[in-house]
């Protein structure tokens, strides 16, 4: 038996989210008294793979087949299902990101497993197996019992954190039975955002709303983000206006994020926006309207003009970083 975790890579490298998943899987494995096994698909160096052992993974399966780099959910689900079967996994963990969300439901059907997506932290109990997740876009939580023998979970990023637990690990070549017909998609073009922190991997997120007034006003916001090593996001009207890309839109109809620190500049704090950010550990709001609902969700706030506050923030961050 095992707990299996699928670990995605980005050009052969892992990210914080990868190690959080490893930590999470080994913690569940410990409570079930079974080993934690990781599966990596696509080319990743052994030195990178063995980093997973720092977070309690004792068996690391990998297959360097380049075809997996196409992020074809059907092919990956097939390979993960085979790894789950050969390791006797009773619980399979994936990231709650674009790839994990695509694989998990297909995998659950293959394994006749129940699926709970976007779980927040460790199971509430393992006997019966109950997990907690956010519902109604942050307006409530639910305790969900999983009734199947095998369970598939996707973990909300930054809901568990990192837990170091060095173990000795074996790195093994894993050879799933795959045929050419398992790879269904043909990639015509890829646009990678380079030099930016992934929103799902960011500890700090700096966000702007309609109060930023125009696309060209984002320069100081981006400067602040760069100084903090933060990701950038925005409210829905901002991406609708085309001031920022759709991938930055957070909220009910955009991405749901839970960084340690979220800055809201010129965002009113509509309920649909808060749904996407209310699990952030600390929220800082800057808004010129003292009655803006964002202040009800915020931990720290400044009633003031973003144009006056941003330069002061930048100056202060430069001071503390030097």
């Amino acid at each position: 038996m095992s707990v299996l975790v699928y670990i995605e890579n980005w050009d052969g490298k892992f990210k914080k989210i990868s190690f959080e998943l490893a930590s999470y899987a080994s913690s569940i494995a410990a409570s079930l008294n079974v080993p934690a096994v990781a599966l990596s698909l696509g080319k990743v160096d052994n030195s990178e793979l063995s980093k997973l052992s720092v977070y309690g993974i004792s068996r690391i399966l990998n297959n360097p087949d380049e075809r997996f780099n196409a992020l074809d959910n059907q092919a990956i689900a097939k390979a993960v299902a085979q790894a789950a079967q050969t390791t006797g996994a009773t619980c399979v963990v994936l990231a709650h990101n674009n790839l994990g969300k695509a694989i998990a439901p297909r995998l659950a059907v293959k394994l006749k497993a129940g699926l709970v997506s976007a779980v927040n932290g460790l199971p509430v109990s393992t006997e019966p197996f109950v997990v907690k997740k956010m519902l109604f876009t942050g307006k409530a939580f639910g305790h969900i019992e999983m009734l199947s023998a095998v369970k598939v979970l996707t973990l909300s990023s930054n809901s568990f954190g990192l837990a170091e637990k060095q173990v000795t690990a074996s790195v093994e070549f894993f050879d799933p039975e795959m045929v050419d017909a398992d790879f269904h998609i043909q990639i015509k073009q890829t646009n990678k955002v380079t030099g930016k922190v992934l929103l799902s991997d960011a500890d700090i997120v700096v966000s702007g709303g309609r109060g930023m007034k125009a696309a060209e006003n984002w320069a100081p916001l981006e400067e602040l983000a760069a100084l903090l090593g933060a990701g950038t996001s925005c409210s829905r009207p901002v991406s609708d206006e085309g001031w920022r890309p759709h991938s930055e839109h957070v909220g009910q109809t955009g991405k749901i994020i839970a960084p340690n620190l979220y800055f809201a500049f010129g965002i009113s704090g509509a309920i649909q926006h808060l749904g996407g950010v209310s699990s952030s550990k600390v929220i800082v709001a800057v808004n010129k309207d003292p009655d803006a609902p964002i202040f009800e969700a915020a931990d720290y706030g400044i009633v003031g003009d973003v144009a006056k506050v941003l330069p002061q923030f930048i100056e202060a961050v430069k001071e503390i970083k030097s």
Partner: protein
Amino acid sequence: MKILVLIGNVPDTTTKIKFNADKTAFDANGVQWIINPWDELALTRAMELKEAPGSTVETIVVANVGRAETEGTLRKALAIGADKAIRVDADPLDAAYVATQLARFAGEFDLVFAGIEASDYNGNAVGGMLAEMLGINSVSAVSGLNIEGSQVIVNREIDGGSQTLGVSLPLLAIVQKGIAKEPRIPAMRGIMMARTKPLEVLQPVDAQPLTAIRTFEMPQPKAACRKIGEDQAKELIYLLRDEAKVL
């Protein structure tokens, strides 16, 4: 070509969420129901594909697993422009249960649209499960879709960028923001026509849910916001470092 659009029936996004006294059931009293926002965008895109010059789309069917109260939402989808609606008369127990019900007839369609999640239980599951049950291709996080002969050209978001893909039919597209610009609003004529469009009710097949919500919980109330003057903005950064310890 035939298109199926899955329609989730969810509380309006401004709904104040309430539960019964022992927190084991959602309290639907006074709730306004809407089409799940992503499904509404999917239906809008399906309509655009049907109306495009030289389109091969003959019909758009919408489907929901739910009790009679969800018919208002299905009628709205018909008013937006779908040709026919199907309702499987059952409580949507969990994603696996819903997908099993839909799998009975979804195989007749060339293109199936599902939303990336439902705004009530935020499940991200029905679309992918249905594709696997049907044994057809699926692409998730789709923010653009065009049909070119037997190929579908799809834009999707990946973590760290975006991609354009070619994939063959039949296809299940799991869509997100961007798939259509604005959801269509039913016009008066559409609302009139919707009354006479077919709404078929099917009995459910036997299936077991694999998950069950046992209890609900409200989020912890937040402590009051600590306000700092506009001219002391720098101080806030120091508080984040020394007090909140997040820098």
